[in-house]
């Protein structure tokens, strides 16, 4: 359980991640692919547009423009070939303010994928809802795990998953013969964020929000109770 949670990157959902190359670039230790010829002063320009066509470059007098095509060591840049898919999720949640229970009424996804893979996406969303609301690794104060069996660690079960509406969009991948993409994670990754957002929207009239997963009923209850005591 813990291994698979870590392996699928769940610990990082919703967090900012430091880029590995930043430290070297910021401290002048950056390494470049090739030395430009006769360089005294170099300014590297990168287009802010991911896939635009450069039509014209203006430069000051007595300077030179070198593009990647002029450098032997730079291999031609291929268009990014990837085999993973993208998804967009929408969720509705109604919160029971007395018990903290969450009912997910609807999770709709927009999936860019050439295959009909509803079952796999449903499974991924179910797992994501589990991450958002149920699955939690708990340790006691001496570091012993309290959630080592499926009696304490709660994955999603079918009755707890709302009706899911899927919309598919097809974009073929050039990276493989079948032009297919994997869709296994597109259900899982978006679901926790969208469910938590829906929960927070539902409890926003009470001026509280949940900023960690899972949004267990006891956490929502505690947050609601704090505000009610403050108002009382």
């Amino acid at each position: 359980m813990s291994a698979s949670t870590k392996g699928s990157g769940m610990a990082w959902v919703g967090r900012s991640i430091r880029r590995l190359e930043d430290q070297a670039l910021l401290t002048g230790q950056g390494r470049f692919t090739a030395d430009p010829p006769a360089a005294h002063w170099v300014r590297v320009a990168r287009s802010p547009i991911a896939s635009g066509r450069i039509e014209r470059i203006e430069w000051p007098p007595r300077s030179n423009v070198i593009t990647a095509a002029d450098l032997e060591a730079v291999k031609p840049i291929k268009p990014m070939l990837h085999k993973f898919s993208n998804a967009c999720h929408v969720a509705e949640a109604a919160d029971d303010v007395e018990t903290g229970r969450v009912a997910v009424a609807e999770v709709a996804g927009s999936i860019i994928n050439p295959m009909i893979v509803g079952g796999q996406v449903h499974g991924g969303i179910a797992q994501g809802i589990g991450n958002a609301l149920l699955e939690e690794i708990v340790y006691d104060e001496s570091g012993d795990i309290l959630t080592s069996t499926l009696a304490e660690y709660l994955p999603s079960t079918a009755p707890g998953i709302a009706a899911i509406e899927l919309h598919h969009m097809e974009t073929c991948s050039e990276a493989c013969v079948a032009k297919a993409k994997g869709v296994d994670e597109c259900g899982t990754i978006g679901a926790p964020a969208v469910v938590i957002n829906a929960v927070n929207d539902a409890i926003s009239p009470f001026g509280v929000s949940i900023d960690e997963i899972p949004a267990a009923p006891r956490k929502i209850w505690a947050a609601l109770r704090r505000t009610m005591e403050q108002r009382a």
């Binding site: 229970r101 149920l134 709660l154 707890g160 209850w221």
Partner: protein, 285 residues
């Protein structure tokens, strides 16, 4: 994991079963009925009985019968027998309402009513029914029969008044009248999970006022029980929200809640308040 080795004994009659329990009860012997609690904990080796007395073949225990105002449920009557009302009227409706909260369908086809009572999990719905309605448990052993009231039967978490050589052959439930209103509410994290808090309430109306109130709370304390303080808050009062809130608050204030990773004491106490009020509202609906 697989269970530790054990010897399975298969009695055909209650007398054979009690003879086997007299011999093996004190030697780590256990009764096997539906096995939906015992077998999983044996697989985890949290229980390592040396002998199992398998009562599933005793036909006389597979029956339920109604005699006047008593519904007798034999030791191998399955949960699924209650899916549809087992008797006419509110009693059958009460039992078929509660049974759907017990675990999941496959478990209900095998697990037994009396097995739940003998296992005495604090979160057992049937134990709450037995405590709230005031059931009598009929135990048999070579030493003779014994009738134990619900108040005396449940001692704590999976602890009961049953002796090692005793077999719970039958539970006798008082049949609630058709004028009785009932309401049940259970809170858990997922459908079929153990209750974190639940409430079963019954009452009648006389001249528009509540009489004979019973408020049972389960899943919250080490054993299910009626809460006299909550019942006192209902007695003789009109069935309205103000009354229900007072009774629910009395129940919450009275209990000594368990704590676990799902719930600390204060959350459970507040869930009891909510469960009791919602059960009362369901009874009034």
């Amino acid at each position: 994991m697989k269970s530790a080795p054990f010897v399975r004994h298969v009695p055909r009659t209650v007398d054979e079963a009690t003879a086997m329990l007299a011999e093996f009860g004190a030697k780590d012997g256990r009764v096997l009925a539906g096995g939906q609690s015992l077998v999983p904990i044996m697989a985890f080796r949290m229980a390592r009985p040396a002998h199992l007395v398998d009562i599933n073949g005793i036909e006389a225990l597979a029956r339920q019968s109604r005699d006047g105002n008593v519904l007798s449920i034999g030791a191998v009557v399955r949960h699924a027998a209650f899916h549809r009302p087992i008797v006419r009227g509110e009693m059958g409706r009460l039992l078929s309402t509660v049974v759907h909260y017990i675990a999941h369908y496959p478990i209900r086809t095998r697990g037994t009513f009396c097995g739940s009572i003998a296992h005495a999990d604090p979160a057992s719905e049937w134990c709450l029914v037995a405590a709230t309605l005031g059931a009598e448990m009929v135990a048999r052993s070579r030493r003779g029969p014994r009738i134990i009231a619900a108040d005396d039967f449940f001692h704590g978490i999976m602890a009961t008044a049953l002796a090692e050589d005793e077999l719970l052959v039958e539970v006798r439930l008082p049949v609630v009248s058709d004028q009785t209103r009932f309401g049940f509410y259970e809170f858990n994290r997922r459908a079929g999970d153990f209750a974190i808090a639940m409430a079963l309430v019954t009452y009648r109306l006389a001249d528009g006022m509540i009489v004979e109130p019973r408020v049972g709370i389960g899943g919250a304390e080490v054993r299910p029980r009626r809460i006299a303080e909550a019942e006192a808050a209902l007695q003789g009062r009109p069935p309205e929200l103000k009354t229900f809130l007072a009774a629910a608050t009395a129940a919450a204030d009275t209990i000594d809640p368990m704590e676990d990773i799902q719930s600390d004491a204060e959350y459970r106490r507040d869930l009891v308040r909510t469960a009791a009020r919602r059960a009362l509202e369901r009874a009034a609906a």
